[in-house]
């Protein structure tokens, strides 16, 4: 009897509960939606503010104003045709040192061919260093290269070997110098690029900088003593475009840090 009479009450209660549950869900959804709308409204307001600020910045920095500033203060001009480079090879070419006549170099060169010419004649000669050049330049070459390698920076010389040309066998330090100054002089885009590249490669060079004078010394000695073969490795190290020489000139080094 009781269960039967209460069944309707339970029914009503469960119906009410279900309805309430449904309503709560929809209420929850509505409140979530309201929160979302709030966020959306805030986004729109932020976008509007951004738009206002962008408009203001755009108006203050309008092109005609930039042109006026450029005419008055910066004086920048469009890059000329020769300031555009076709690729990394042209960029690398900018780092090629100028050939400067060094008065030690001609001596070396002159002495180098002389023994070769004389040797076929069959008359042994002595050069100014006192060693007999005629005998066998090849063996001398081997010995000299071995020496330099053991003393300093072996890896570098090995890498640098291919590009050597006998004529430019100058002092390494002096040859490298012009390269740096050249790239700095280049105005505009090319300069910026090459300057950056050079600057980036400066560190390793400085690290090996201490070794360099020693190399030079040994090279000088070798050239004096021996024939042309020796000069090859030395020259390579000098012409290396990866080692622009700022450290030796305080002015240049300052410039390079500024680039960085």
């Amino acid at each position: 009897m009781s269960s039967r009479s209460f069944r309707s009450v339970f029914m009503v209660a469960s119906c009410a509960g279900a309805a309430l549950g449904c309503y709560l869900v929809s209420l929850r959804v509505a409140s979530e939606r309201a929160a979302l709308e709030d966020v959306e409204t805030r986004i729109v307001l932020a976008q509007r503010d951004m738009r206002v600020l962008q408009t203001e910045i755009g108006t203050r920095g309008r092109l005609s104003q930039l042109e006026r500033w450029n005419a008055g203060a910066f004086a920048l001009s469009a890059p000329a045709a020769d300031q555009f480079l076709k690729g990394s090879f042209e960029l690398a070419r900018l780092a090629q040192p100028d050939h400067k006549i060094d008065f030690q170099a001609p001596v070396v060169l002159a002495s180098a061919p002389a023994p070769q010419k004389t040797s076929p004649m069959g008359a042994p000669e002595t050069d100014d260093s006192g060693a007999s050049a005629a005998a066998n330049p090849n063996s001398l070459l081997h010995e000299a290269s071995l020496k330099t390698e053991t003393r300093e920076v072996p890896a570098r010389q090995i890498v640098a070997l291919p590009p050597t040309t006998p004529k430019s066998a100058d002092k390494p330090a002096t040859t490298a110098k012009p390269a740096q100054s050249k790239s700095v002089e280049k105005p505009g885009l090319a300069a910026a690029q090459s300057g950056k590249k050079l600057a980036a490669q400066e560190l390793p060079r400085q690290a090996s900088g201490a070794a360099r004078p020693a190399i030079k010394k040994s090279v000088d000695k070798a050239t004096v003593v021996t024939a042309k073969a020796l000069t090859k490795p030395v020259r390579i190290a000098k012409a290396d475009p990866l080692a622009p020489l700022e450290a030796k000139h305080s002015g240049n080094s300052k410039g390079s840090t500024a680039d960085r």
Partner: protein
């Protein structure tokens, strides 16, 4: 047993009728009651359903309307890179309701005159006493002024925010953009041409993307302005156009107008010389004559010879040259030295009918085909188009076209010979490239490259060369028609150039109206001296931006023309 009388058993007929009536009435009453209840229940059910519906899907009480998307009052106009050229902002407006002013009117008038001195104290006082309902005191007021006016504390003053059109780049591309009136309707330029698009709520959310490149526009305007000032010209116009699509990358007309304050500009400044003005552009027409002749088979080689005396008498007139040859000359030389006499003979061989047909195909005989409403219509000899007129049109006199039309003609000639109508809307997915019409053959288009490069390398357009960018083009100096007579001293100079000439991509046309001679030009007012440097300066600025790589070693196939040019200097050396 008396049987009941039937009268006793059977009710009386009137009573029977009464019972039946009552039942009927009751039934009707029930029916009505039921109906009323159903109606009531229906209404309740509708309300309940509506409430349920609102609870489930309806908006809540705190909902904010109209902020779900950022749709400006009027659409933005942006350039091809998306930089805004026109925008609508909220500006402050100061107004007054004179009949609601309650304070001391003379005092208020004095203070208003101090703050906004465009009217005097008396005028403000008269305005306050006029009793009219509403006056604008200042539109687009600065925030500082608004604060000061607000501090007066007068309830009759109305300070509101109103949408206002702002052109962030001020005068840049003003003639392309146009401007709006005070109610925000476009009255000039693209604002006018696309007024519906910009103001329609459905479309104004998307900005209108122009084909203009603001950097190119700035470079062009600056270079042209410099030249115009230097040579004291009364006006100037220039156009840069993409050869392959007809998109106008930059178009300017000087003197310029500031669309933020269009009322301050003179009617002359509002006139768009690039599309509205039509001018006899002179020698810049000669390449068309040569191309027509080549396509028609009149000219077979650039080495074809013409007799070029110092003066050519034709049809009762005399044709002169600025650099007379006095000998036979080749087509290449005619173009190099811009000979009227030579071109007149070519045009004569071509004939009137063919010339008309070609010019029609190139769009030189009708209105300027562009979206702007400010556009002119080319002037041709019309019914007087006889053999002599054919000759003069051949070298660019007697026909007046807008600078934009000239650019269009050069684009057609150098993109392989296909005409695309010029457009100020960026070509993209929403605005695809229209199908072109073939005008010149591809071979003619190819061979003309060398001819125009020759003009810049060795001829009258040397000063237009931008090293490395292979500029080719043609100068044009036309005498201005003043009171029906050609002036001997007043010129319109123009230059139409194309670059890079080995693979043409852009055409640039510049024009100066009445340039004066300066010491720099040794007294000359011809195009080679004043407008050609504008082209050179502009190209060296814009070409890198447009992705044209400078190369000193590239040239078009000059072997087609160089053998036919008589080089006086080399002869002198040989002698």
């Amino acid at each position: 047993m008396n049987a009941p009388s039937p009268a006793l058993v059977a009710p009386r007929p009137e009573r029977l009728r009464l019972v039946g009536q009552r039942r009927q009435t009751l039934a009707v009453m029930y029916q009505r009651l039921m109906f009323g209840m159903l109606v009531y229940a229906g209404i309740v059910a509708i309300i309940a359903l509506r409430i349920l519906y609102l609870a489930a899907f309806g908006d809540h009480a705190g909902r904010k309307e109209g902020l779900t998307a950022l749709i400006p009052e009027r659409g933005d106009i942006v350039d091809r890179n998306g930089d805004p050229l026109a925008r609508t902002i909220d500006a402050w407006t100061i107004a007054i309701h004179p009949n609601r002013v309650i304070g001391d009117k003379p005092g208020l008038a004095r203070k208003l005159a101090e703050l906004m001195p465009e009217l005097s104290q008396e005028q403000y006082f008269a305005l306050l006493r006029s009793g009219k309902p509403f006056f604008y005191l200042r539109r687009r007021a600065s925030p500082g002024l608004v604060e000061a006016v607000n501090a007066l504390g007068e309830p009759g003053l109305a300070i509101q925010r109103e949408p206002d059109r702002l052109y962030p780049q001020t005068t840049l591309a003003a003639h392309v953009l146009g401007y709006t009136d005070i109610d925000g309707h476009g009255v000039a330029g693209m604002e006018r041409a696309f007024d519906k698009y910009l103001s329609d709520a459905a479309t104004r959310g998307q900005p209108l993307t122009l084909s203009i490149d603001s950097r190119v526009q700035q470079a062009l305007e600056h270079e042209l302005m410099t030249a115009m000032t230097k040579f004291s010209a009364i006006g100037a116009a220039a156009v840069v156009m993409d050869v392959h699509t007809g998109e106008v990358l930059a178009m300017t007309s000087l003197p310029e107008v500031n669309p933020n304050a269009p009322g301050a500009a003179t009617p002359d400044a509002r006139f768009n010389r690039a599309t509205q003005g039509v001018y006899e552009l002179g020698s810049t027409f000669k390449p068309f004559t040569v191309a027509m002749a080549m396509d028609s088979g009149v000219i077979r080689s650039f080495g074809q010879q013409y007799n070029c005396p110092n003066v050519l008498p034709v049809y009762g007139h005399l044709v002169h040259d600025t650099h007379p040859f006095g000998r036979t000359c080749t087509v290449a030389e005619i173009m190099e030295e811009s000979s009227n006499i030579g071109t007149a003979q070519i045009a004569d061989q071509l004939g009137t009918e063919r010339q008309k047909m070609w010019l029609g195909k190139m769009g030189f005989t009708g209105p300027v085909p562009i979206e702007l409403k400010e556009r002119g219509r080319a002037l041709t000899p019309g019914s007087r188009w006889g053999p002599f007129e054919t000759m003069t049109v051949g070298f660019g006199q007697g026909i007046a076209v807008a600078p934009l039309q000239l650019a269009m003609g050069y684009a057609t000639l150098f993109n392989g010979g296909v005409y695309h109508s010029p457009t100020l809307i960026k070509i993209d997915r929403n605005h695809p490239l229209s199908r072109g019409k073939r005008v010149f053959s591809e071979e003619t288009s190819y061979r003309m490259r060398a001819l125009l490069r020759l003009v810049v390398m060795k001829g009258t357009g040397k000063k237009a060369d931008a090293p490395g960018y292979r500029v080719g083009g043609k100068t044009g100096t036309a005498q201005k028609l003043i009171n029906g007579r050609y002036s001997q001293t007043i010129n319109i100079t123009s230059f139409a150039g194309v670059f890079p000439m080995d693979e043409p991509r852009y055409v640039i046309v510049a024009m100066l109206d009445e340039p004066k001679a300066t010491p720099d030009t040794y007294g000359f007012t011809t195009a080679g001296w004043n407008v050609a440097p504008v082209v050179s300066g502009t190209i060296s600025r814009i070409a890198p931006m447009l992705g044209v790589r400078p190369d000193m070693n590239l040239e078009p196939d000059m072997g087609q023309v160089l053998p036919f040019v008589h080089d006086a200097k080399q002869d002198a050396k040989k002698d």
